[in-house]
Structure formats: C-alpha cells, structure tokens
C-alpha cells in the first residue's frame, strides 16, 4: 500500500513538473522568445555560477589536502618512509598543476562568456605553445619516472642476507603465519598434503619442516630486522595488505610471491605515536575473495628482538603441534600416508 502511494506521488510530481515546464515555455513563446535559445543573461548567470562553484571546489580540495597527513598512517618500515617522500614529491608537483589549470579554466570561462558585440580571437595553432606543453610535462614526468623507478628498484631489490623467512598463508577467510624456525628454511608444502591439522599442507617428511612454527590470530616481528614474506593461497586470490608498512602483495594459488621489508617501530612506539593505546598493526585482505572478505585480518605485533625471540621460543614447532613425531624411523610410514592422500584427494 505504501509502495503504491509512493508510486502515485512520483507520478503526480512528474506531471506537475511537466506542467510547470510547459507554462514557462508557453510564456516565453507568448513574449516572442525562443525558450531554448541561450540568452546573454544565461551566459552571464552560468559563468558566474562557474566562478562560484569553481572556487568552492578548489577550497574543498585545498581543505582536504590537510586531511592527507591526517589519514595516511605513519610509515613503520624503512622503505615506507621513502615511498612517503616520493608520494609527497608527487603531490607537490600535481597540486600546483591542478590549481593552475582549474584557475585558468574558471577564469577563461568567466572572462570570455558570450557577448554579441564581441568576436572570438581566431587562434588555431601555435607550434611554439604546443611544443612548450609537450616538452615541459615530458621533463617533469621523466624526473618523476627516474625517481620512482629508483625507489621501486630499492624496494624490490635482492633480499639482504640473514633475512628471517615467514610464510603468510591465506584461505577463505583467514591468515596463517609460518616461521621457518632455526634453520630459516620453510619446509616444502603442497595443496595435496593438506590433511587434518596440517592445514598448510607442509611436507612433514622433510627435515626442514620439523622446526617450522605455525601461528594464527596474530604474529610477531622483531623491530629493525629484515623480514622476507612468502605468500601462498590455497583457494582464490587474496592480497596481503599491511598499510602501516606500505606493503602489499597478492597471494595467488599455484605460485609463491614474496616481499621483504624492515619494520622500524614497535607496536608500543606506534601506540605512543598515534596516541591510541589499543593500536595494532594490521594485515588485511585486499583482493575480493568472497562473502567475508571484509573481515579477513590478522594482528601484527612488532617488538624488540629479545621480546620477539622469547615469544617465538614459546611457540610450538609444527612437529609438536601435530604431535606426530617425524623421526626418521617412522618416516616410511608417514610417506605412505602422504602418498595415499595424494592419490585420493577427496578422502578427508
């Protein structure tokens, strides 16, 4: 009933509007005007609104620029500081361009509105001018490209030696972190080995797997130490996004992606910096992955190396967690189980 009423009201509104428009047009007709012709007063009004709206728009942009530093979180990684500098440099170039071009657009729009006693300036071509606005952007962009690419190269450059390796493993809709353990080598894994508690499909027969440590809910990082993340996904594409570290990398089923960085601030320092005693670094999923995409997260704790080592020592190794000893004497048995699970992937 209510819907019917709404529909009726809308129809009546349309009819009323049509009548109003009709009255105006007939009125103009009677006065001998063409109601559709753009008049001098239209030109004056519209160009005046253009100035007013243009100033409002520029003020609105100007005001929002001050949000920028507010909303962009403090960079908490070595490369993050560099990309923030590049970002600010880029803003410093594009904002003046934005304001200058808009001021010209609005100024010309106002100054040259149509007056019947004037004639436009016939100015169709100027090689000199066109050369200027081809060459100047080329130079500016070239310098941005060079600077941007050198930053990109630093970020994606070779991993420093003695980098701790951590696997971030994604699935709908949670994250798991696996530390490589004392040998700093992740045990090999495969999706066909996923079984029971072994949700990452780690090959338990491999010696490198024994000391791997798997954690959920939150993971820890030592401050000031390089970390190399290896990303995996078991179902659809996810993206590991850690905005405070200016880090993002897709997790793609069937391949391993990686990213390394050095965190520079501990969680405690960041809590002071942000004035938020409940602050935690976050790992979010940033590639559409299904119904609960908006709640696929993990907390990250950055702490001193000593605290980190103590925390890591307290975590169980994979062998302990799965409470299936992977001693060499029972290895053949284990291999059989694995083989079986490879053959019948459905038997879970």
């Amino acid at each position: 009933m209510l819907n019917l009423l709404i529909v009726l009201v809308v129809i009546l509104a349309v009819v009323a509007l049509a009548s109003v428009v009709r009255v105006f047009e007939l009125g103009a007709d009677l006065r001998g005007h063409d109601p559709s012709a753009v008049t001098e007063s239209d030109n004056r009004t519209q160009s005046t609104i253009l100035v007013f709206a243009g100033i409002c728009y520029m003020a609105y942009v100007f005001y929002q620029i001050f949000w920028g530093p507010e909303v962009l979180p403090v960079a908490a990684s070595v490369h993050g500081v560099k990309t923030d500098f590049l970002l600010n440099l880029t803003w410093a170039i594009i904002l003046p361009v934005f304001f200058i071009t808009h001021i010209l657009l609005i100024y010309f729009g106002y100054k040259y509105f149509h007056r019947s006693d004037r004639k436009s300036d016939f100015f169709a071509h100027s090689t000199k001018l066109e050369a200027v606005w081809t060459i100047v952007p080329t130079i500016v962009l070239s310098s941005l490209i060079v600077y941007g690419l050198s930053t990109w190269q630093e970020i994606t450059g070779p991993t420093p030696e003695e980098t701790m390796v951590i696997e971030l493993y994604s699935k709908q809709f949670d994250w798991t972190a696996r530390y490589a353990g004392d040998d700093n080598r992740l045990g090999p894994s495969g999706y066909r080995l996923i079984e029971g508690g072994n949700t990452l499909g780690v090959d338990l027969t491999d010696a490198a797997s024994n000391d791997d440590k798997v954690v959920r809910g939150e993971f820890h990082l030592p401050v000031g130490k390089p970390v190399l993340f290896k990303f995996h996904s078991r179902d659809v594409i996810h993206s590991a996004y850690m905005p405070h570290f200016r880090t993002q990398m897709n997790c793609v089923p069937g391949m391993t992606t990686q990213f390394h960085f050095v965190p520079t601030m501990t969680t405690a320092e960041m809590r002071v910096e942000t004035g938020n005693p409940e602050f935690d670094y976050l790992l979010l999923c940033n590639k559409i992955c299904g119904a609960a995409h908006n709640n696929m997260q993990m907390n990250i704790i950055v702490e001193s190396e000593a605290d980190f080592n103590a925390w890591l020592a307290g975590q169980k190794t994979l062998a302990e967690q799965l409470s299936k000893p992977v001693e060499s004497e029972i290895k053949p048995q284990q291999a059989e189980v694995l083989e079986a699970s490879t053959e019948t992937p459905n038997g879970i």
Partner: protein
C-alpha cells in the same frame, strides 16, 4: 558515392512501417537512438545498484525498507546480504563500463555522427549495424536476467578474476550467475566488433567529396580511433572469457592450479590465475580509452562550437589521441604491480604509464587555449564539456600517483583507486555523453531540450560527483580496501565512517539529479520546442541535413566539403561561422 542521388535513395528506402522503422531499423540514426535508450535503461539499473550499496556503506547494517522492496530475499529485513553486496558492486561496474560507457557512448554517437559528419547516406553495412544493436540488446537483457538467478548474479568484481569467478564453491555468484555474465559479455563483444568494423570501413570509404582525413571533425576522429582500439583489444577479452568458460565447464586448467577448497583438492594443475589478468587487462586498459576518447571527441566539438573559436591545435589533438591510443595498449601491467610479476616488468609498465600523461596534458592545454579569448555560449552541453575538462584534469593527475609502481604498492585496490577511476573515466565519459546528448538532441529528435533543467542537472551532478569521489582518495590513503561490505571489523577506520556517510548522501543526491535529465529527455521528445536546422550555428556537416532527416540523410545530393569543421570567427570574414560545405571565395586561403 556520386550515384547516391535522390532517385537511388528513394528506391532504396521504401515507406517504412512500424517494425522496419522502430525495431528492425537499418537507419543509423534510429540505431543510435536504440543504443541510447537501451544504455539509459541500463544506466538507471547501474545507478540504482550504486545507491543500494552506498546505503550499506554509509550506514552499515542498518535496515532500509527500499532494499527489501527491490532486492527481496537478498536484503532480509532491509539489511543487504554480503554476497548481494559483492554482486551489486560487480554488476554495477560491468553495466557502467560496458553497457553504458562503451555500448551506450560509442554506439549512440558513432552511429549518429559518423555518417552525418563525413557525408554518407548510412553506414557501410546497415545490416551489420542492426545486428550490432541486437547483440547489444541481447547482452543487456541477459545481464539483467542474471540478477534473477537463484544463487545470485556474478559477484567476483567486474574484473572477474579466477579462481574466484571460476569456482561456485568460492562464492555462490560464480554459479549460473557467472555463466550468464560470460554469455552476456560474449554477445557484447560481438556487438562491439560488428559496430567497430562498420565504423572503420565507413570512415575510410564513405567520406564525401572533399572530406579528407585532415578535415574531419574531431568527434569522428575520436570515434575512428576508438573503433580501431576496440577491434584490437576486445577479441583478447573474448578469448580470455572463452578460456574461463572452458575452465568452469569443461575441466581445463588455463587459470587454475593447486586449489584446495571446501575440504577438497581440485584436479586442476598447471594453470595460472595471473594469465587471466594479463588477458583481461590487455583489453581492460584500452577499454578506459575506448570509453574516454569518444567523450573527448564530443567535448572537442562542443568546446570549439560553443566558444565560437577553432579548436586549438587540431593536428595536435589528433596526434595526442593517436598517442594515447597507442600507449594504452602497452600499459596494462600497471593493474598488476602487486601480483608478484617481475619487478623489471613492473618498471617498464611504470614508464609507459606515466608517458600517457604527456598527450593528456597536451589535450588539456589545448582545451584551455580554445576557451582563451573565445566567446563562450553556455549551453548545457558546453557546461558538461567544461565539467569534463575539470574531471579529466583531476582524475588524470591522481593517475600519476597510481601509475608509479612504488606508490601503487600501498594504495592498490584501496578507495584511492575507486576515486581515481570514477573521476577520470566514469565522470569524464558520462559528462561527455551528457554533453553529446544535449548538443545533438535536436539532430536526433528535431526538438530542443529544456536548457534550465539542463543547467540544474549539470550543477547538481558535478557537485554530487565531486562530493562522492574526491574524499575517496583520502579513504584510500587511510588504507580502506575497496569492495568491503563494511569496515566495522577494523576499529582504526571508525573515525572515517562519517566521510562514508557524507559520500552516501552525495550519491543519493546525484542519483536524484539524474531524474531531472530523464524527465527533460522524455518531455522534450514530445513537447520540446521545435529545433531550427542549425541551432548551435555549427560548421559540421550533420547540421546541413533537414531538421528531421529521413533515411539517407540528405534529400538531395550529398554536400561537398571545402574546408575543415572549425572555421569559426575567421578574421577575414564577417560571418561568425562557415559550414564545411561553403565553397571558398576566390581570395580565400584554407587555414588550419
């Protein structure tokens, strides 16, 4: 062309009945209207969807009766279902990018303007042209039908990345809904190719006497380059879609490998999801310019005509469009900086991407110089053209940030991207389309649109557009990912919720403003004041036809062209404008 005389024309086109005139028409002008009306209907659907998901984003979890009215079981108690949220986002994107801004924009204006502006009786093949529309209509209908599927429409994002789009286990929308999406898209590509081939052939072969390429109006140039771009890139999307169909239905593994889902390891091995992204963006990036170039072409024509001044740097305008089109084919990797692709490849794509800014800058400065010392008539079309210049600048500049791989790492897939592309591609293209509709409405329907409603439409639209999309840049910098049903799981984003609320209010305002346009459009078709033959005092050839041109366009011989389309306010002449078909006087030099 010469023997296309009046006699032949009448012999060709007998008296049309209702069906051949309105439905199975082969007249390019009617096909253009068919494209426009279909796109407008699809536009309403796409816009309603955006309002629905903006309600959820502005006031997460709140109940809205309107959601239940329209979405039924997908909004129990008026609260949007998370899967439906993703579906709305997906279908909104698909409809807007393909049905409205590709089919609608190119389909409407290429069909209307190419034959009229180059002086042809019709397209090279009227039949192919008709087929192009019918494939487009079929594609639109199937896309709408997919909304009514039990498991919901496609919901993996408009970019339909597998494995999400390939596995119904991963998201319900990847069942029948996704199949229909792929069928719809296949029909759409066929439509676009049939149209594109026709546009190219027509422009190359059917130009009237004197209409050399360097006298062609920039609108036709833009549509020409767009058609070539579409012809080169759409087939790649078709192959990507077909391979996805194989993976989904026939057990192949082009895009799938190493997947364990719903407690089961799948048999697919050896494929790569990244391959799909390469194929998709090989179309996807040129697609941005397939959408944008016609809008820029329309703007060039409108800005010049309404400033009563030749377009500044005609050759540079053509050259920059060619440069943009070429570059657009070698930048697709900038959508994939964080997929784990080789960093060296990433730097190549950064380099080519930032180069696009150069021809874009040339275009902007040329528009500004055209306005300089002009004599600007503020028709609604002109306002939208100026709006386009503004959005093209605003959105283009933030592209310099996104195109830089080192900066993209942090803002990839955040609201920064959403703000950027909606301004530079969405708003610019739709402004170009509005500009075109206001400008050529008298040519399409023989009547004028109401200018005051047009003014109101423009100012409310641009205000709400910037109100919606500009703050999104800052949501993105704060780290809010796109395609999130809500941000309530992240207390650090709580402080930004009022911005989301404001964005939603502007979105609703913007949607309401479009009602003004629809009212104006429909009212003017029936009741608008009758148009004169050349209401904007334009030089282009389409205004030399009668007010309501029949099939065949010119009742007599086709006009011969003697000059370019931009002889406005020539200093050596007393008249304000000289149409292209006016022969030069003895002492006159051709300028341009």
């Amino acid at each position: 062309m010469a023997d296309h005389t009046e006699h032949v024309h009448h012999a060709h086109h007998g008296k049309p009945d209702f069906w051949t005139h309105y439905v199975f028409s082969q007249d390019h002008k009617m096909i253009s209207k068919q494209f426009l009306v279909t796109a407008m209907i699809m536009g309403v659907v796409g816009m309603m969807m955006s309002v629905f998901f903006r309600l959820q984003l502005g006031w997460p979890g709140q109940s809205f009766a309107i959601l239940e009215t329209f979405l039924g079981k997908w909004a129990p108690d008026g609260v949007l279902d998370p899967n439906m949220y993703l579906a709305l986002v997906t279908i909104h994107g698909t409809i807007m990018v393909f049905m409205v801004l590709t089919g609608g924009l190119s389909g409407t204006f290429a069909n209307l303007l190419i034959p009229l502006q180059i002086g042809a009786r019709d397209m090279a093949s009227g039949f192919l042209n008709m087929l192009s529309f019918w494939f487009f209509l079929g594609s639109s209908v199937i896309m709408l039908a997919s909304l009514f599927v039990e498991t919901g429409p496609a919901s993996g994002g408009w970019t339909i990345y597998p494995p999400l789009s390939a596995l119904p286990q991963a998201i319900p929308g990847s069942g029948l809904g996704m199949t229909l999406w792929l069928v719809s898209m296949t029909l759409f590509i066929v439509s676009s190719l049939l149209g594109g081939i026709n546009y190219i052939v027509t422009i190359i072969n059917l130009r009237t006497k004197g209409m050399s390429m360097d006298r062609m109006p920039l609108t036709t140039w833009a549509l020409f380059i767009t058609a070539i771009l579409g012809l080169l890139s759409f087939p790649v999307l078709l192959s990507a879609a077909l391979l996805l169909v194989f993976d989904r239905s026939f057990g192949t593994s082009f895009y799938l490998s190493d997947i364990f889902i719903s407690g089961q390891a799948l048999e697919h091995t050896g494929g790569s999801p990244i391959l799909f992204q390469h194929l998709f963006w090989f179309l996807g990036h040129p697609e941005v310019y397939i959408v944008l170039l016609p809008a820029l072409g329309i703007t060039s024509e409108v800005v010049s005509t309404m400033s009563r001044k030749p377009i500044f740097g005609y050759k540079a305008m053509v050259g920059s469009m060619l440069a943009i089109a070429f570059l657009s084919m070698i930048v697709w990797g900038h959508h994939m900086f964080v997929t784990g692709m080789n960093p060296f490849l990433g730097s190549v794509f950064t380099f080519t991407t930032l180069l696009v800014a150069i021809p874009s800058a040339v275009k902007v400065f040329n528009y500004l110089t055209t306005l300089w010392k002009g004599n600007i008539v503020y028709s609604p079309a002109m306002l939208f053209a100026i709006g386009l210049v503004s959005t093209f600048i605003t959105g283009g500049l933030t592209g310099i940030i996104l195109g830089d791989s080192a900066l993209d790492i942090n803002i990839h897939d955040t609201y920064f991207v959403v703000g950027h592309f909606h301004i530079v591609m969405g708003a610019s293209a739709i402004f170009g389309m509005f500009s075109g509709v206001y400008h050529w409405f008298p040519k399409m329907y023989g009547r004028m649109m109401n200018k005051n409603l047009g003014y109101a439409h423009f100012w409310i639209t641009i205000t709400s557009m910037y109100g919606v999309f500009f703050p999104m840049h800052f949501l993105g910098l704060a780290g809010i990912p796109r395609r999130y049903y809500d941000n309530t799981a992240f207390p650090i984003f709580d402080g930004l919720q009022d911005i989301n609320e404001m964005i939603s209010l502007f979105a609703i305002l913007g949607a309401c403003a479009q009602a003004i346009f629809f009212f104006n459009f429909i009212y003017s078709i029936y009741r608008g004041p009758r148009a004169s033959q050349n209401p904007w005092h334009s030089n282009a050839l389409e205004w030399t036809t009668p007010v309501n041109p029949g099939h065949g366009n010119w009742p007599g011989a086709i006009p011969t062209v003697y000059r370019w389309a931009y002889d406005y306010s020539r200093p050596d002449k007393d008249v304000d404008f000289i149409p292209q078909n006016v022969p030069p006087t003895a002492d006159e030099k051709e300028i341009h």
